[in-house]
């Protein structure tokens, strides 16, 4: 009976050892599986020529190659930038609002040949072509 008990304890110990070993191997395998894809992805991304299994690995490689596609997002943002620029350009125009505009009839006036010591008088027509009140501060000869 004692031998049987010892054998039973030994068997139980073996079973416990096996179970613990199996559970540890399961955990290790799970962690290794969890790490495996990352390593495979990183390796395939960094070194695409490593692809050991042919087409499947090449597919992963292409899939990883398309991941960098995010750069299109900046491209998509670029068209938005001109739109914002247009808005920015339109904003100052709206901020300025209506403005006056001085319109003068003549830029150059030629009196032609004139005698000495004569006073020439000329009327210049000015008009406000804007949408706000035009204020003339001064008219200065030079």
């Amino acid at each position: 009976m004692k031998r049987l008990n010892i054998n039973q304890y030994a068997a139980l110990l073996m079973l416990v050892a096996l179970l613990s070993a199996c559970s540890r191997s399961g955990e290790n395998s799970a962690t290794s599986n969890a790490n495996a894809p990352q390593q495979a992805n990183s390796n395939s991304a960094d070194q695409p020529q490593i692809a050991p299994d042919g087409s499947a690995a090449a597919g992963l490689g292409t899939a990883l190659a398309t991941q960098p596609i995010p750069p299109p997002q900046p491209n998509a943002a670029k068209p938005a930038a001109p739109g914002n620029a247009d808005v920015a350009n339109a904003a100052p125009a709206a901020a300025n609002g209506p403005a006056p505009k001085l319109v003068v009839s003549d830029k150059k006036i030629d009196f032609g040949k004139q005698p000495q010591e004569k006073t020439l008088v000329r009327a210049i027509v000015v008009k406000n072509g804007g949408r706000a009140e035009l204020k003339i501060d001064s008219v200065v000869p030079s």
């Binding site: 006056p100 005698p115 008088v121 000329r122 072509g129 949408r131």
Partner: protein
């Protein structure tokens, strides 16, 4: 010089300019500067030219 101080939108006015030819013969050029609150043309120049007979 006589000039309108304020012009409403669409309103027109006149600026009377007097130029004295003087004694020196030959071509002369003078300018008149119109200063206003026009944001695009705050100082508008008008040029006068004449030739005094000798």
């Amino acid at each position: 010089m006589d000039f309108p101080k304020v012009l409403r939108p669409g309103q027109a006015g006149t600026i009377k300019v007097k130029v004295e030819t003087g004694k020196s013969p030959g071509p002369h050029t003078k300018t008149v500067t119109i200063k206003s609150n026009d944001p695009n043309d705050p100082s508008h120049l008008v040029q006068f030219s004449y030739d005094v007979k000798g």
